[in-house]
């Protein structure tokens, strides 16, 4: 059982109610109910609407995943759930459901980190993660460069966005162009028809003195908006395809450049890209080119596993079981700002051994390089 644990994972950190079931590195079910259409007219995710939708969808989505996987709930080796980070009210629905299922079934509960789950999902696509794994996570909620020597116990943040997340920039630019919400897919579509070199938009935080692994997309977003407004004020047509392509080029250029630099600096020969923006076709293509040129193996899961889903939570839960990590307690809180350095939230041990380990591990840089 320890090698191929059968785990159900629940993800409700934003607007997708996701339930996945995996056996070790094998995906058995990936059921998702999304409330994105309800949020569209508000131009972004409304937390209370998301929470209400999670409550409606939670139990039916779990049933659907169990049916899809063709297993009985009593066969499970554990129940994993996103404990954070995310929207507090939304997380709470998933955490409460996971506890109730785990308790009712007499199975261990694993409260896991949403970001670590985005990395671990790649095990369902490309097999065991290399150790360490370099991961670039980009979505509407996060843009981070992470180094994970052990996805169940040691994840180190190298850099992250200092303002907007990459996905947020897509949403905002789409709004200026009147393309609706969410912005990612539609900008990707228009960009295919446009010239990426048509407009030289700024590359944030890429100067020699800037933080090498941090991102900034706020200046880019404003530059794009100003450029469009100047055109409109002059009574000229806005070339939507060229703006989309040039904006997208600026985002993906910065993301891949910094990710490759981190790989080089840390001596890591694999790069994993995850999160909703990893579905972007230009990001995938550019990462492929640049990784190939640098001799780095690129790992990007299929788009459905990059966006928020339950399978990624199940994947990390299965790894927790396989590596004998401590289960969570029944009073596991939903923690909207759970730090990425905590891949899971184990029940407090009487010796506090784990906590101390952690501090030392994170302060010792380049342990595995």
């Amino acid at each position: 059982m320890a090698d191929e644990p059968l785990v159900l994972g629940i993800e409700t950190s934003c607007d997708e109610t996701g339930v996945g079931i995996v056996r070790g590195h094998t995906l058995l079910a990936d059921a998702v109910a999304s409330s994105v259409d309800t949020h569209a007219r508000f131009g972004g995710v409304v937390p209370e609407i998301a929470s209400r939708a999670h409550l409606e969808a939670m139990v039916p989505t779990i049933q659907r995943a169990l049916d899809q996987a063709g297993i009985a709930a009593s066969d499970l080796d554990g129940v994993a759930v996103t404990a954070g980070p995310g929207l507090a009210g939304a997380l709470l629905v998933g955490v409460s459901a996971a506890k109730a299922y785990a308790y009712a079934l007499g199975k261990p509960l694993y409260g896991v980190n949403h970001l670590a789950s985005h990395i671990c999902v790649d095990q369902l696509e490309h097999g065991a993660l290399p150790e360490p794994t370099m991961a670039l996570l980009v979505s509407g909620g996060h843009s981070s460069l992470l180094l994970a020597p052990d996805i169940t116990a040691d994840v180190r943040p190298l850099g992250s966005t200092i303002d907007d997340a990459a996905g947020e920039a897509f949403d905002k630019v789409a709004r200026v162009l009147n393309l609706g919400f969410p912005g990612g897919p539609v900008i990707d579509k228009y960009a295919k028809e446009g010239d990426p070199d048509a407009i030289a938009f700024p590359r944030g935080l890429t100067g020699p003195r800037d933080a090498p692994y941090d991102f900034s997309f706020s200046g880019l977003k404003t530059a794009v908006a100003r450029w469009i407004e100047a055109r409109r004020n002059a009574g000229e047509e806005v070339p939507v395809a060229d703006v989309s392509a040039s904006f997208q080029e600026a985002v993906t250029d910065v993301l891949t450049r910094k990710a490759l630099r981190a790989c080089r600096d840390e001596g890591v020969d694999h790069l994993m890209i995850g999160g909703g923006v990893a579905a972007n076709s230009r990001l995938r293509a550019m990462a492929e080119e640049r990784c190939a040129a640098a001799g780095i193996t690129l790992r990007v899961p299929r788009p459905k596993l990059c966006t928020d889903n339950g399978a990624m939570v199940a994947a990390l839960g299965a790894e927790m079981v396989a590596r004998n990590r401590a289960a969570s307690a029944w009073d596991l809180p939903a923690d909207s700002s759970l730090p990425v350095t905590e891949p899971h939230v184990p029940a407090p041990s009487p010796h506090h051994a784990h906590d101390h380990d952690h501090v030392h591990e994170t302060s010792r840089k380049n342990l595995y390089a």
Binding site: F42, V59, G89, L92, Y103, A104, R226, D331, A334
Partner: protein
């Protein structure tokens, strides 16, 4: 029968033996911000104290509110998930009905809980078992005429006692899962249909369609 309610600041759980009409064990903790953390340990304690397993429970009773949203959902999703995992029946009961039942009053009265934002959730009753109006959510001042002169129970009445002048401080102000369970058992025995386990929010989510796009170019 296992009853739970998280629609008010209290997390309240009771194991009830419907045939013997007695509460086997109950737990009660008040902390409006930690429903999610407190509920399952409370369930575990109640079952342990009664020496029973969750799988022995045949019926779940859950308070469906009205209540401030976040806490309310904890109880509902927990009851639903238990029921789905173990094939139990799950029944919803209006949270205010539980408070009314616990009051034991035999005359017209109102129940009010704190809805925050200077409002109360409230309902009118002819007696402890019979709701005749509501539930609704209102500012106390807006319902003064209807509630001022009759007996009232609940934390909302205590909080706004200048409006709820007939507040009965001698009666329970907090929701009790034991009362909820007895009420549900009584109704089920009488062949009544209970509510589905769906939340009574009584308010629309706070969401605004954003006003037009904001120009960033300085003027």
């Amino acid at each position: 029968m296992l009853a739970l309610d998280t629609a008010t600041p209290a997390v309240t759980v009771a194991l009830h033996d419907a045939d013997g009409d007695r509460t086997l064990a109950a737990a009660h903790q008040v902390d409006a911000r930690r429903h999610g953390e407190l509920l399952l340990p409370c369930v575990e304690r109640v079952l342990e104290e009664a020496g029973r397993k969750l799988a022995e429970v045949t019926d779940l009773v859950v308070g469906v509110g009205p209540g401030p949203y976040t806490g309310l959902r904890v109880g509902l999703v927990t009851a639903e998930a238990f029921a789905a995992a173990l094939g139990q029946r799950v029944h919803g009961v209006c949270t205010l009905d539980g408070l009314a039942y616990a009051s034991g009053l035999d005359e017209p009265f109102v129940v009010a809980t704190d809805a925050r934002r200077k409002e109360v959730y409230w309902a009118r009753y002819d007696d402890a078992r019979t709701r005749v109006g509501g539930p609704a959510v209102d500012r106390p001042a807006a319902i003064e005429e209807q509630v001022a002169e009759v007996p009232s129970v609940g934390a909302g009445a205590v909080l706004y006692d200048s409006v709820f002048r007939g507040v009965r401080r001698d009666l329970p102000t907090e929701q009790s899962a034991a009362a909820l369970a007895r009420l549900a058992a009584e109704r089920l025995a009488g062949g009544a249909e209970l509510l589905p386990p769906r939340p009574l929010y009584l308010r629309r989510p706070d969401a605004q369609v954003p006003a037009g796009y904001k120009v960033v170019t300085p003027r």
